[in-house]
Amino acid sequence: MKTRIHVTLKNGVLDPQGKAIHHALESLGFEGVNDVRQGKLIELDLDDSVSDADIEAMCRKLLANMVIENFEIEREAA
């Protein structure tokens, strides 16, 4: 089963990569871009036996750093 983990920087954590992307979009002439924040998408292919609690533990222990990042789990329906 495919599960997607979206990892994003917490509010208030500086994102210089997002800023650089923002500048690049502006220099390409795109208008109306107010802010850019860069995150990560991690795709897991999991056995059906893996519980939601297990996925949450994977996120907390490794996939996200809870000091600076939030995560969202998007689990495909079985």
């Binding site: 954590v13 500086l14 750093n65 000091v67 600076i68």
Partner: protein
Amino acid sequence: MKSAVIVFPGSNCDRDMAVALEQATGAKPHMVWHRETELPDGIGLIALPGGFSYGDYLRSGAIGANSPIMREVKAAADRGVAVLGVCNGFQLLTEAGLLPGALLRNAGIDFICRDVALKVASSQTAFTSGYQSDETITIPVAHHDGNYFADNDTLDRIEGEGHVAFRYDESVNGSARNIAGIVNAAGNVLGMMPHPERMIEPAHGGSDGKRLFDGLVQALG
């Protein structure tokens, strides 16, 4: 004193660290591969060297912090053994939960590789006992992810409890409150982004880094 350098795939300052430790302790350190599950007996000082463990995949230090040997490093730190993390070693220590906070991408996004002026924020730790408080020293940095971040409560706490060891004398990488190095509450774990092992003899342009190792070894007895 017996010391150890933990070697990860992608470590690149492990041999420089070994030279610095041998100079200070008079004995070659044990080079311990990260897959090992035990440290040699009687180790009094563990160094986590600079480099790019696991290619900085996921986050700097994130994968290496879960290497088998890190369980032993944590257990040793809990017993009071001195642990020194430099650059990637600092990133590993925060990822492993041995030090608070995290190291973000440099605020100016560039990799920074140059000598920097550091202020010794506290000489009251074993790691900084070779310096005077408020002294300015010169140590090189070489990092992409050295921008120290912690929430304000954590920053207030580590400042209030005297756990800031070094500060940049100017803004270098966007670090909160110009923090360049911190110790844990027990004072036996130091993480710092600058590389003291790259400043240990006149040919390096100075020897301010050597004083960290000499002071530390003397403090540890």
